[in-house]
């Protein structure tokens, strides 16, 4: 039997890799993929908890997370497309119009 | 003499893990072997059927009635030079046809060919097939993109959009089946159909069946929805840059996909390996025929349907295709789903 902590640790590591990816990549697409990575990490921990605590709530939450992730990806990519159409870049350091 | 005695002589117990593994491996081998053989002769069958429908005779030269033609084709493709375009993304280019074959072959794992012959019996069988068919879309998009050619790229984009769109309609048409059977397990779906005297969901769910048939054609990129490989516009679509064995793998994937889709149609709508109980009542002798025969007959009827449609229908325009999928099939499937749920709720 694999202990619960292993799953949580795995989930944490993937999550942090997602965080780092989000923080250091210039390309917005990779940043979005990093977000998906983080969401998957969270889903993993939720399913693990759900399994070990014998409660389906975690998995219900996973379904909602997947729903929101799909919506987030659709909107995010739509924003990206219109951004690319206007400025022809997908790099964050090129998009600093909101600079104070 | 049963399996236990045979294998017992080799020191294997029927309950042991290794024995179970062996059984599964044997089953997989059998299924793959038969499928490969089928694909080879399916091309022959197709050429013959279309030939006769167009008042030709089809391949006649190699072997009696051209029976060895598929072998000759195979040998030719196998020895042909494998060309990779210089600007292509090599790895992706090489993997793409493998994905195509892998996705369709692994779908076969959950198809119940006969009540005692199936590789895996899982509770989310239908979802598994959806998952694999969505994986299939990747082979198209990967090959289209990796070739670094505009024809194949356009073909890849088209086909992916088409497959993703029609998957929704197909899923909705099958949801009504799941609703009626109360299960996503394909074996249970077949068994559930036996409770009716007509023994198949085709009759109450004919709307879903029609939607499924159309979506099935689009999913496998067959005429009249073979736009990704529309010769007149895109040369050969996403696999225009492929040759030799990799080209053959795409063909393999397509023909296995046809088997998978036909099997799914048979399982979900035609009662799988069973015959209608009413028929058995009047002709009890039919019970002697093993179920696998019925299954194969039904599957081949559907494969014949594929060829028949290819021989008779012209190709669709792309925007019409998307309009058909989103504006007609999905609403019809949804309406059918609502009606089914209401009727199911009432009874």
């Amino acid at each position: 039997m694999v202990p619960l902590e292993w799953y949580i640790t795995l989930s944490t590591v993937i999550f942090i890799i997602g965080v780092i990816g989000f923080l250091i990549r210039r390309n917005i697409i990779i940043m979005l993929i990093s977000i998906e990575l983080m969401l998957n990490a969270v889903n993993l921990s939720l399913v693990a908890f759900s399994h070990y605590l014998q409660d389906l709530k975690g998995q219900i939450l996973v379904i909602f997370v997947i729903t929101v992730a799909a919506a987030e990806a659709a909107i995010g990519l739509a924003i990206l497309v219109s951004l690319y159409r206007n400025k022809a870049v997908v790099h964050t350091d090129k998009i600093t119009e909101m600079k104070g | 003499m049963n399996f236990n005695e045979i294998f017992g002589t080799f020191g294997l117990q029927s309950t042991s893990f290794l024995f179970q593994l062996l059984i599964v491996l044997v089953k997989i081998a059998v299924v793959i072997a038969i499928t490969m053989l089928h694909v080879a002769y399916a091309t022959y069958f197709e050429r013959k059927v279309i030939g006769h429908m167009q008042v030709r005779v089809g391949p006649m030269r190699v072997g009696p009635h051209g029976l060895l033609q598929p072998i000759a084709d195979g040998v030719k493709l196998f020895f042909k030079e494998d060309i990779i375009p210089s600007n292509a993304d090599r790895t992706v280019f090489q993997i793409a046809p493998l994905v195509a074959v892998f996705a369709t072959l692994s779908s076969l794992a959950v198809i119940p060919f006969y009540d005692i012959f199936y590789i895996a019996n899982i509770n989310v069988g239908i979802l598994y097939i959806f998952a694999m068919s969505s994986l299939g879309a990747y082979s198209l998009i990967m090959s289209g993109w990796a070739s670094n050619s505009k024809y194949s790229f356009l073909g890849g984009l088209r086909s992916t959009a088409q497959v993703v769109s029609y998957e929704i309609a197909m899923a909705f048409s099958l949801v009504s089946i799941m609703l009626m059977a109360g299960s996503m397990n394909l074996i249970e779906i077949v068994q559930a159909q036996q409770q009716y005297w007509y023994g198949m969901y085709l009759i109450p769910q004919f709307v879903a069946y029609i939607v499924f048939l159309i979506a099935m054609l689009a999913e496998t990129n067959r005429t009249p929805f073979d736009l990704p490989e529309a010769e007149s516009e895109l040369v050969a679509g996403y696999f225009v840059e492929y040759s030799g064995m990799r080209f053959a793998l795409f063909f393999l994937g397509e023909y296995i996909g046809m088997i998978v889709m036909s099997s799914l149609a048979v399982v979900c709508f035609w009662g799988g390996w069973t015959v209608p109980p009413i028929l058995l009542k009047f002709i009890p002798q039919l019970a002697i025929v093993p179920g696998i025969v019925w299954f194969i007959l039904k599957v081949y009827f559907h494969i014949f349907l594929f060829y028949w449609i290819r021989a008779t229908l012209p190709r669709y325009r792309y925007d019409k295709l998307m309009a058909l999928g989103w504006k007609i099939l999905i609403p019809v499937a949804l309406a059918n789903l609502v009606v089914t749920s209401i009727i199911k709720y009432i009874y």
Binding site: V19, L23, I24, T92, D93, I95, T96, M98, K99, G100 | -
Partner: protein, 642 residues
């Protein structure tokens, strides 16, 4: 048809209002149908209800929980007892007649549908006021009728004086309602309920309690009663808040008849009568009510003597008659007060509508000195107006006589205060007869004093106006017959009818005394009429002579005792001064603007500094978030023990 019937009584006019205000402009000239049908429905239901109440059925029913907040519970509910039944009849019948009258009077007006929808809204509000079974609903109706009154006084809102009069009515009423509101709060604070039945059941617990205000120990009952009476003073235009009613005559005449004579202004009397158990517990409060009523009635009657504006005279007459009703309530004769309210509604509405008919013929002319001899041009108006005047003057046999006589007789019986107010009431009776007939003589007798064009224009009003006049005339004659005292062979039906709610004061006077009271009032009334006839028919020079001789008195009366001017100097101008100098100049100009301008300046200053933090670079923000997570995690790890 159990509760629906009672709900429908106020609801029908509300529905009419909604339909007319929303859709009225699509069928401008037909708007009256909906309004009249709605009020007719209410009237019929009211009559049915009245008959039920007559058979002894009293309804007290909570329809719907309106507000529930802590122990504060108020519902929309109906209390339909004898008092409410009488009020229902008064309100719906007068309202119905005024609606019909308005069809002719308002014909061709650009805001025709608006007028009718307001009338409907008013009827709804008034019915809510009288049918409510709790103070909150009364208060709701109270304010709603005030609002409608404002709408209708300022109906000709393009006319400056009308708009001003509307505002004046609203603001003056605020003073009264301020006290009323506090009274309601105090009732809730001390009794923890606003429902009449609960209030009256627990009211004895307040007996003897006192409250310290500015060093004076004041009886709680007296205080609450006087606070509630404050509201009544405002709404019923008693001294010193009477100033709005005369100005309210800027509104259309049907409005004056309905709101400022027959119904809304009597809400104060209704309030006092409804709370008679409370008022009866405090002698001080009773005395205040009685004296306020008596003084107001004398005060208003004297002003009415010299005015020339036909509607204003009737308005002051209304103030005077309302004073009469309060006088009655103050001496404990609530039944007599409500009886007078009942009869007054008909003859005063008749007077107003008659005046409206005259105005209609005179193309808006209001000055009675410029009229005369209208008798032969508009006979129906003349006869009905005559009946109303005879009725208000208190000539035996007509409505006004019985109710006025009842009040005077019960006042005569009510101790020292009663005797004082009886004397005042008798004088007022004479004055009333005088000024009523002054109008009649100046308007309908003698020669026409206007221009030729005006004379040519004179005509009888259309039937939609004269028919209500005639119906009201019947009321003005016969409304009093329900209260004929035993002495004159009657049974005082209305008094006995109202007795379960309002009680009946003990009468210890002899028959001889009662005959005397009647005789005095009749003689005084006839004297008033005779004097009016002498001064305005037979010797027209006398008024001028009197005016010159008693110039100072005449001027004071002509200027209505300078009350408006007094208010202008003591309240209006100081308020304006404070507003313009202190509030606008100092508070708004310096303090508020200083804050308003200073805060953004400060923010701009900070913003200039902090904007450097905004690099516009997405990852910098993301790193900020990650750092925040890091800080929170470290805090959690440090401070949260397992």
């Amino acid at each position: 048809m159990t509760m629906e019937k009672y709900v429908l009584i106020p609801l029908l006019p509300l529905i009419g209002f909604c339909i007319n205000i929303w859709f009225g402009r699509f069928y401008q000239e037909k708007a009256h149908w909906i309004s009249i049908l709605a009020v007719l429905g209410s009237f019929i239901l009211s009559v049915i209800t009245f008959i039920e109440v007559l058979q002894g059925k009293v309804i007290n029913y909570d329809l719907y929980s309106w507000v529930i907040s802590g122990n504060f519970k108020v519902s929309i509910g109906f209390l339909i007892d004898q008092l409410t039944a009488i009020m229902l009849i008064v309100v719906t019948s007068v309202s119905l007649l005024v609606h019909i009258y308005s069809v002719g009077y308002m014909h061709g007006d650009s805001g025709y549908y608006r007028f009718f929808s307001y009338l409907n809204l008013f009827t709804f509000s008034m019915l809510m006021l009288v049918t409510g079974n709790n103070l909150m609903q009364l208060y709701f109706g109270w304010e709603a009728v005030g609002l409608c009154s404002y709408f209708l006084i300022g109906y000709y809102f393009r006319k400056q004086s009308a708009a001003d009069a509307g505002k004046k009515a609203f603001i003056v009423n605020r003073f009264g309602d301020f006290g009323f509101g506090i009274g309601v709060f105090m009732v809730f604070i001390y009794l923890e309920t606003l429902h009449y039945t609960d209030i009256f059941a627990n009211i004895h617990t307040l007996q003897g309690q006192t409250i310290n205000i500015l060093g004076f120990e004041i009886g709680l009952v007296t205080l609450i009663a006087l606070l509630l009476f404050c509201g009544a003073i405002g709404k019923s235009a008693q001294l010193p808040l009477h100033v709005w009613l005369a100005d309210a005559m800027e509104g259309p005449t049907p409005v004056s008849a309905l709101i400022h004579a027959a119904t809304m202004v009597t809400a104060g009397v209704f309030l006092v009568a409804r709370f008679n158990p409370l008022f009866s517990m405090s002698e001080t409060a009773m005395m205040v009510v009685a004296l306020t009523g008596a003084i107001t009635s004398l005060f208003a009657a004297t002003i009415a003597l010299v005015q020339n504006d036909i509607k204003r005279i009737i308005a002051y007459s209304t103030v005077s008659q309302l004073g009469y009703m309060f006088l009655a309530c103050g001496v404990g004769a609530y039944g007599a007060g409500i009886f007078h309210l009942f009869t007054h509604a008909y003859f005063k509405a008749l007077l107003f509508l008659g005046a409206g008919s005259v105005m209609h013929a005179m193309a808006g002319q209001l000055d009675i000195q410029k009229m005369g001899g209208l008798r032969k041009y508009m006979p129906i108006t003349f006869w009905t107006f005559m009946i109303a005047s005879v009725s208000i003057a208190g000539i035996p046999g007509l409505a006004g006589f019985f109710s006025k006589d009842e009040i005077l007789w019960l006042a005569y019986n009510a101790g020292t205060v009663g005797r004082i107010v009886w004397v005042i009431g008798t004088i007022v009776a004479g004055l009333t007869a005088f000024y009523s007939f002054r109008i009649v003589f100046l308007t309908f007798f003698g020669k026409f004093k206007g221009t030729h064009e005006e004379e040519h224009h004179l005509h009888e009003s259309p039937s939609s106006m004269t028919v209500p006049l005639m119906i009201l005339a019947v009321g003005a004659i016969s409304a009093g017959w329900v209260g004929i005292p035993p002495l004159l062979g009657g049974t005082n039906m209305i008094g006995h009818f109202l007795e379960p709610v309002l009680g009946h004061p003990h009468v210890h006077g002899t028959h001889a005394e009662e005959w005397m009271v009647i005789a005095i009032s009749v003689v005084v009334a006839l004297g008033g009429i005779f004097t009016a006839a002498v001064m305005y028919l037979w010797a027209p020079g006398i008024p001028q002579l009197l005016g010159r001789t008693f110039r100072s008195i005449y001027t004071v009366l002509w200027n209505k005792y300078y009350v408006d001017e007094l208010y202008d100097y003591t309240i209006v101008r100081p308020t304006k001064w404070i507003g313009s100098r202190i509030l606008v100049g100092v508070t708004d100009g310096k303090i508020i603007e200083g804050i308003v301008n200073g805060v953004p300046k400060l923010i701009a200053e900070f913003g200039e500094r902090f904007r450097k933090l905004q690099t516009g670079f997405l990852q910098h923000y993301a790193m900020g978030m990650a750092f925040g997570l890091f800080v929170i995690l470290s805090l959690v790890l440090i401070f949260v023990k397992q």
